[in-house]
Symmetry: C2
Subunit: 213 residues, 2 copies
């Protein structure tokens, strides 16, 4: 990946990271991203589920999606993920902050038609969303593969920003509490749908696990 | 707000909403957004905390931020928030989905210098991040006000997309569990910082409350 001067923050350069060791785990933890691009001279954004396989991220939609087909004609898209870890509480509102990990990346979208690459992207996404589920579900059919379009965006430029730690010091003797309020994204107990009557919860869904500790 | 043909999804038009009654609560529940814009012909995005007051959303940064100052020269920015509610588990990976509420909006950023509007934006943001805290904290000073830049983006075009409900039916008699895995964003117990020794936790922080039920 190239170091990208566009996304080196001028105020807090020490928060910026450009190594895959920092960037990839953030992409892997985030279930959703925002994809942004320029269309007819204007900026647009859409939320998307995201999965990384190797040095690329993948997206999917119905082959009937005109929007998705037009994505592949773009020179580049910008993809952003944000993981919030803590609200940072200081003695002043002014010194409040947020502990977070975020990634901004760019790449040129391309439609993937190769079976194995497409299959791997769907399998990895399914296992990311519901770990342990792929082998339990009905197998993906060739017909379903044909009805689903996969878009790959190689990670050609990327940058992470990370803020962790306690609040900035404020020179005040006032007895005002300061610290962190953790923000956690957790999975609740599975809620059976109308077709689940009489079907026992599979082992991989029995223990709700945290999406983000 | 104008109905915006750019963001009416062609695949699932019934998921789109254009009324403030749907859009504003989503903006109010999301602590963070992605702000996207075109700079020198290329698309950029940055994560930001977001607060709505009336028919606008507000952002803040140090007055020393060149980036923030340049924002006000843009004709428009695109702001996206996404709230994930459930992973929708079907019998096939193909029919998996996500229950979510998202908003995409556009507006022209402007720097706010008027004291009362700026103060209201900071107070509302602080109360959104840490409910009940504004009157407990050291009062915001004129010096702090002068060091902080506020950017307002009027909500001139906006659209919400909402998917809620059980998985799509799959014609299969296989006893495979289907339903929802709720995703919840919750606040953990406050963690005292290094300056909090001997200071008791204020009442508004005693009961951790869920960010998103």
């Amino acid at each position: 990946m190239n170091r990208d001067s566009r996304i080196v923050p001028s105020r807090y350069p020490k928060r910026a990271h450009h190594d895959p060791e920092t960037i990839y785990p953030i992409l892997d933890e985030a279930l959703f991203c925002t994809m942004s691009f320029v269309h007819e001279g204007r900026v647009r954004s859409i939320p998307q589920s995201i999965v990384r396989v190797g040095d690329a991220v993948y997206f999917h939609a119905s082959v009937g999606s005109h929007f998705f087909r037009s994505l592949a004609e773009l020179e580049e898209v910008c993809i952003t993920v944000t993981l919030a870890d803590d609200i940072v509480v200081a003695k002043t509102a002014f010194n409040h902050s947020v502990n977070y990990r975020s990634v901004v990346m760019w790449g040129k979208p391309e439609v993937i038609d190769e079976h194995d690459e497409k299959y791997a992207a769907f399998k990895t996404l399914t296992e990311k969303m519901v770990p342990g589920s792929w082998d339990y579900l009905l197998p993906m059919t060739d017909k379903q593969m044909a009805k689903t379009m996969a878009i790959k965006v190689p990670i050609t430029e990327a940058s992470a920003k990370v803020r962790q730690g306690p609040p900035s010091d404020v020179e005040s003797e006032e007895p005002i509490w300061t610290g962190l309020i953790p923000i956690k994204t957790v999975r609740g107990a599975p809620v059976p749908g109308p077709d689940a009557a009489g079907i026992s919860l599979p082992a991989h869904l029995v223990s709700p696990t945290s999406v983000k500790e």
